[in-house]
Every structure is written in structure tokens, then in C-alpha cells.
Amino acid sequence: MDKKFEEILDDCLDRLGHAETVNDCLKHYPDYAEELRPYLITAQRLDQSFSPSRVAKEKGREKLSKAMSTEEKRKPSAIRNIFNRRLVWAPMAAVLALAIIVSAIWGIFLPTQEPVYASTLEIRVTDIPPESGISSIEVTVSNIEIRKEGSRWGWRTRWINVINEEQTFDLIEIKDIEQILGEAEIEPGNYDRIRMHIESVKLVIDGELIEVDIPDRQLTLSQSFEVEEGEKIVVVLDFDADQSIKRENGKVAFKPMVQMNIRKGQMDHGPHHGPPFSD
């Protein structure tokens, strides 16, 4: 199709989007009017074909409102409790003021350093085959974070979110393969923990969906690794499905037993065995 015509059509679509009529648009391009008209009428028909209902929008608003309340509940309340105590304010303000002064002095003597985001972290999951009879162990995790070690120059140890959204994987399906959960650009430096929130576990044994208890929803693993600038690091979380599913007092519980492997390019730093690290 003629590039000139494509540009004119594009401009007319913008004009229709800004409440101009088909005839208004055509007046701008009289030489193309005959050719343009059927395209614009088609666009107008599409535009007028569907709009969501007010009822649906209201329902969606309620759904969003519920999600907001849930988010609020999930936030730790300890900090808020501290701030609610009046007596704590004065010393805290003093400490804060002191911290600002120290930071200012620090900033004068040390050049500011912009963080470099040139390295890549990829997180994968895999699995050791479980007992027979289990046909599905669907695990949903969210909020995957890694912990960056502090430095003697004053950087504090801090948690960095690498994958925020929920990720689901089936421990049966990932047997013998590695499923990529996500990838993130991270700062070069030393890291020593990875943690995630276990949202849910759906277990199917002999065709029956079993309710699974998750005693600890925070899964934290410990292994130090260094990320150099421009380097790609692959973190493989190798779940042992057999060891992770526990039967206690007639109930089934998910207590993840995970082996953490760090790969730097072709190098393998070896596995981290054992149960998750306790903070």
C-alpha cells in the first residue's frame, strides 16, 4: 500500500479519536477522500461496536478495592505500630536528623556513585522426581527477592525485588527440565540470600486434589554469589518433590526441600543442599 496513503489514514484515525467526524477528516485530504472514506467508515464502525457496561465497571471497581484491602493486610504492621507510639517520635526524629547530617558530610567527602544495572539474574526451577501416584504439584510463588550484602563503605544489606508477579510451576512437569521463572537486571555485587512467598500449592494424588498445608509461606535460601558487571547469573532452584511433601497426622504439608545451584556462564558453583535457610 502507498506509504503516503498510510500516513494520511493514520492522521485521520487520530482525528477520529479526537472526536472529528469522517467528513471532517476527508475535508483535510480532498484528493484522497474517495479512497479514504470506506476505511474511515470501517474504523468508525469498529469504534462504535463495543463499550463495557457500567455494571461491569462497577464490579471491577469492587474487585480492585478488595485487592487493595488484601494488599494492605499483607503489609507488616510492626512499623506502623512503632509510629503510632507518641513517645517514640522524639528520639526517632533525633536519630533521623543525625543520620541526615552524617549522610550530608559523607556525601561531601565521597563521590556519589550511580548504581550500575548491567548484570543479569535469571531464576529457574527444576525438580527431582516424586513418588508415584502424584500427578501434579502446582506451586505458585510471588515476590522473589535477593539479598545484597552490605559493604564496609556503609551500604546496608538490603533485599531487592527481582520478580514481583506470581509465577506458577508444576513440579511434575519440570522434572528433568528447567523452567525459567523470570529475568531481571541487577547491580553487580555480592549476594547471599534468595527468598520468595509461597502463595499456594495444589497437589493431585491418584486423580484427587489434596488440600495442602503450608506451615511457612516464606521460603528463604542461602548461598553467597558474586555478580560482576555485564555478567549473567543463573539461579536454579531444584525442588525435591518427594522430600517436600510431608504427611503428618493425616494431613499433607508442603515443606520445601530445595537445592540451589548458581551458574556463572559455563561455570557451576556447586549445589546448596538442605532445607531452606531460616532468617
Partner: protein
């Protein structure tokens, strides 16, 4: 930081003094456009309305990680919508294709002219390629500019113009016959 898990390609921190307010504002401003975009992709009215609200719930959960790198927050919403549509079809275990929604009620007389028009458009949209359908969704149903649509689709504005021209040509031919 970039997370390809969410397909957000951004790098400047969004200051979120109150993320609930931001998402609530976005909802009021963009719900209709997002729903119309999803409709263009799926051809299903109820699904479009449901998925559109899910887009904002998803946005709420991931707004903390939103960072701008040439992709405005509005475009980020459509990126989430795009991913949710793909997730939906993946979960359903079938290829992404348009599906005509059944007409309301069994009585033919109850089918309104509007329903018939939606049905005609849905069937016509089935003839488009996925990229053409997406460009129609973004440009005509959601009224984004070619530049914005291009950023979301990873295409140049020229490629967007070409896709929309081809798509409208196909739709014109189909809808012209029965319109």
C-alpha cells in the same frame, strides 16, 4: 531493574506516594479503553470486562516495580492486558483466536441490532493476523497513537501504520459485503 517476567521494560523509579490512588485513577481513566482493547483481541464481551479489571489488580501488585524506560504507565497497562490475554488462552489450552460470544437469549427476536453488529465485527476480526488484531485494538478501540502502539508492540510507527492499513483493508472488504 528489569523484570521480563512481567514484560515491563522500564528503568526510572516511579515515585509512588500512594500507589492505591495511582491505580484507582488509572482505573477510572483507562478501564474502558483496556476493556475495548481486550475485546478486540478476544471478541468476547464478558471476558473483556473481567480481564480488564484483572489488569488493574495485576498492576496494583506490580506497581512497586514499575520503572519508566520510555514506556509510559498507560502503555504498561496495555502490556499487562496483552500478557493477560495470552495467559488466558494458554490456560485454556488453545491457540489465541477470536470466539464469537453467543447471542443473549435463545429467542432470535431478542438479538438486538447491536449484538448482530458485534457478531459481524468479531467474525471479521477473525480474518486478521494476531498483529493486525492487536494494532486495531490499540489504535482504534483504545485510541492510542501509532507511536504508543509501536512501543507496546515493539514496532516502528511505520510498521504500525502498515499493519493498520492492511487490517482496515481486510475488514472493509468483509464488512462492506454484509454491512
Amino acid at each position: 531493574m528489569r523484570s521480563t517476567g512481567s514484560h515491563v521494560i522500564l528503568n526510572r523509579e516511579l515515585k509512588v506516594p500512594n500507589k492505591k490512588e495511582i491505580i484507582a485513577d488509572l482505573y477510572e481513566k483507562y478501564y474502558d479503553k483496556v476493556a475495548r482493547y481486550v475485546f478486540a483481541r478476544t471478541g468476547d464481551r464478558m471476558l473483556s470486562e473481567d480481564l480488564a479489571s484483572d489488569v488493574f489488580v495485576r498492576a496494583l501488585k506490580s506497581v512497586d516495580s514499575y520503572k519508566e524506560r520510555g514506556l509510559p504507565i498507560e502503555a504498561w497497562l496495555f502490556k499487562i492486558a496483552h500478557n493477560l490475554v495470552i495467559d488466558y488462552y494458554r490456560k485454556k489450552g488453545r491457540e489465541a483466536h477470536l470466539e464469537s460470544e453467543p447471542a443473549s437469549g435463545d429467542d432470535v427476536e431478542e438479538i438486538t441490532e447491536r449484538d448482530m453488529e458485534i457478531d459481524r465485527i468479531t467474525k471479521a476480526m477473525e480474518k486478521l493476523t494476531p498483529a493486525q488484531r492487536e494494532v486495531i485494538g490499540l489504535r482504534i478501540f483504545s485510541e492510542l497513537s501509532s507511536v504508543e502502539a509501536g512501543k507496546i508492540m515493539g514496532k516502528t510507527p511505520g510498521a504500525v501504520r502498515e499493519l493498520q492499513s492492511q487490517a482496515l483493508k481486510t475488514l472493509r472488504q468483509i464488512l462492506g459485503k454484509d454491512g
